[in-house]
């Protein structure tokens, strides 16, 4: 049975394009142009994956994720955006999205990302990897939970390679580890991003401009 995908984007033209690209391989069960409709329909349809735009009127992608997560815990979210705004993207991930890709992504890569998210893995685009490295940069006074507040050296290596544009497979080869291990590292980074109380995460955007 093919993976059931729901699309949320207020740009109909873009939505139509994604639908055309994905409909061969996946079954597109529906699409919503606004936050409220999307939440209602996703709750009813219970799709496997929701592709959701970060920037939308009435609360944006975060509102959709938050509106669904409690009701349908099995639905997985993949954030999709043209935005460069790290705060918004990080906020989406912290709300529960399992990955972030930019809208300029190649169709084949997007399909791959949907498959990966369905399987429970995290999907990091180069840009998201950069955002995360930035968010966890610097030494942290480890008063809270050092394990959650720092990335390991290996996790940083993986993120840097992703940020440099390498696919998981190439990352694995470069570090002489298996793809499964790469996926484990990325999932662990995702978990840290979602659970860490590192206040830097909120503050980092203003910090990164000051050298």
């Amino acid at each position: 049975m093919s993976i059931r995908v729901y699309l949320v984007d207020d740009h109909r033209l873009f939505l139509a394009g994604v639908r055309a690209e994905l409909s061969e391989e996946f079954s597109i069960v529906g699409s919503g142009y606004d936050v409220d409709t999307a939440i209602e329909e996703i709750r009813g349809l219970n799709p496997d994956v929701v592709l959701v735009d970060v920037h939308m009127p009435d609360g944006g992608g975060i509102a959709v994720v938050e509106g669904v997560v409690g009701n349908n815990p099995d639905v997985k979210f993949l954030a999709l955006s043209v935005s460069d705004q790290a705060e918004d993207v990080i906020a989406m991930i912290r709300a529960g999205a399992r990955g972030y890709v930019t809208k300029t992504i190649e169709p084949a890569d997007l399909a791959d990302a949907v498959r990966r998210v369905t399987a429970g893995d995290a999907v990091f685009s180069p840009r998201l990897a950069g955002f995360v490295l930035d968010a966890f940069a610097g030494v942290m006074p480890s008063e809270v939970d050092p394990e959650l507040d720092q990335l390991t050296a290996r996790e940083k290596d993986v993120l840097r390679l992703i940020a440099r544009g390498f696919a998981y497979k190439q990352v694995a080869r470069k570090l002489s580890i298996s793809i499964k291990t790469v996926e484990t590292h990325v999932s662990s980074v995702l978990r840290k991003l979602q659970l860490s109380n590192r206040h830097e995460l909120a503050r980092w955007a203003s910090k990164r401009r000051i050298v």
């Binding site: 460069d84 940020a163 440099r164």
Partner: protein
């Protein structure tokens, strides 16, 4: 009345109506309250700051300034526009001045002139301020020491300061104890209340009119700014895309435009005028992307100001990007920049055809050499790693020098 059209900018056709002398309109732009004083200044051919000072001073004569202002406002209630007027000729100005002086004398003779001290003081203060704040003048202190300020400017400033000091002197010498101003201010206040009672409805209408007008004006200015920007960027690009029949070029144009528009919308501008290496790298990537029609993905972690040694890094990174875009045949190029406390690191990665470092064409070797030499001179390191069939990666490192 002649109508001259100026279309020099091509963006909007500004119509400038050349009016005959002694015509009067409330100004639309560059005004403080309703554009009356500004309009009058245009008509009289004097600086608007002085006209405003005149109104303030006359307000001390039983509110005459306010009355005049409201009167002129009512006269031109529906006529607000920016026009270019020939200022009155000198003999006309003299006539107006004499007439006005006569009116003032008449008030004096009739016994309606208030305390000289008050009018003179406020007048001196108002005109002094006007002289000091006149648009074409730099700040007072700067003017005193700045040799480039022309002599009339300096003279005007000295007069302004003199008037201010004089005004204060007159106030303290003639009025004596401060409570003596009381009755005069009371009289002004009473007159004001009287005007409010008599002309209340009109005044509220004027106030409402002013509020709507101001909002409308702000909205129009914002629209004009946005229109100008969109015209220069998005509309131009859309036009180019329509004319192009090469899909690669179209998507490149769209991509370029997208990142430029985003920068404009979200204001990715350097802080405090400091040029940042990240911004410079993004700009370089965008330029190379447009020149060579290959998308460049830029990921930036941390930042560093653009200085002598980081400029070398920027130059080397740009060369590496051009190199990849031109020769690798890859569909996209990645630029990764990371700054931490000790070191700046740049990776330029492509997954193109790569090359054998031992057997490269001379011109290409020249480029790789120049990248390396450039970074070395600035105290950094460069490593070029290429595998035929898999791609090329250029690594540039630069230690952060303590500043």
């Amino acid at each position: 009345m002649s109508l001259i059209e100026v279309g020099a900018t091509g963006r909007e056709d500004f119509k400038v109506n050349q009016r005959r002398r002694l015509d009067f309109r409330r100004r639309h732009s560059d005004r403080v309250v309703a554009g009356v004083a500004g309009g009058l200044a245009d008509t009289l051919g004097v600086s608007d700051a002085f006209v405003r000072a005149g109104f303030v001073t006359l307000s001390m004569v039983w509110g005459l300034g306010v009355l005049l202002y409201l009167g002129l406002w009512l006269m031109e209630l529906d006529r607000v526009e920016d026009i270019e007027i020939d200022p009155v000729a000198p003999h006309q100005a003299l006539g107006l001045a004499l007439g006005f002086g006569g009116l003032m004398l008449l008030l004096g003779v009739g016994g309606w002139w208030p305390s000289n001290a008050l009018v003179l003081t406020v007048g001196a203060l108002a005109f002094g301020t006007a002289a000091l704040t006149d648009r074409n003048m730099p700040g007072p202190l700067a003017a005193l020491v700045d040799p480039t300020v022309d002599r009339p400017g300096r003279l005007r400033m000295l007069i302004g300061v003199g008037l201010l000091i004089g005004g204060l002197a007159v106030l303290s010498a003639n009025v004596g104890p401060i409570y003596e101003i009381g009755p005069v201010l009371l009289a002004v206040a009473l007159t004001g209340v009287g005007i409010l009672v008599a002309f209340g409805p009109w005044v509220t209408r004027l106030a409402r009119d002013l509020g709507t007008e101001r909002r409308e004006r702000i909205r129009q200015e914002e629209r004009a700014e946005m229109a100008a920007h969109l015209h220069d960027s998005v509309l131009q690009t859309l036009a180019l895309i329509q004319r192009s029949d090469d899909p690669a070029r179209m998507s490149m144009l769209a991509r370029h435009q997208e990142s430029e528009l985003r920068d404009w919308l979200y204001g990715n501008l350097p802080l405090d005028g400091v040029d940042l290496l990240s911004t410079a790298l993004k700009d370089a990537a965008r330029r190379i992307e447009a020149d060579h029609q290959v998308p460049i993905d830029v990921v930036v972690v941390g930042d560093h100001p653009l200085d002598e040694s980081t400029r070398a890094l920027l130059g080397a990174a740009s060369e590496a990007m051009v190199n990849s875009a031109k020769h690798s045949g890859a569909e996209r190029v990645s630029l990764y920049f990371e700054a931490d406390d000790d070191e700046l690191v740049v990776y330029v990665t492509d997954q193109g055809k790569g090359f054998d470092a031992g057997a490269v064409a001379d011109d290409r070797q020249g480029i790789t050499r120049s990248i390396t030499a450039r970074v070395h001179r600035a105290g950094g390191e460069a490593a070029i790693d290429s595998v035929p069939g898999e791609g090329t990666e250029v690594l540039l490192r630069m230690p952060v020098t303590a500043t």
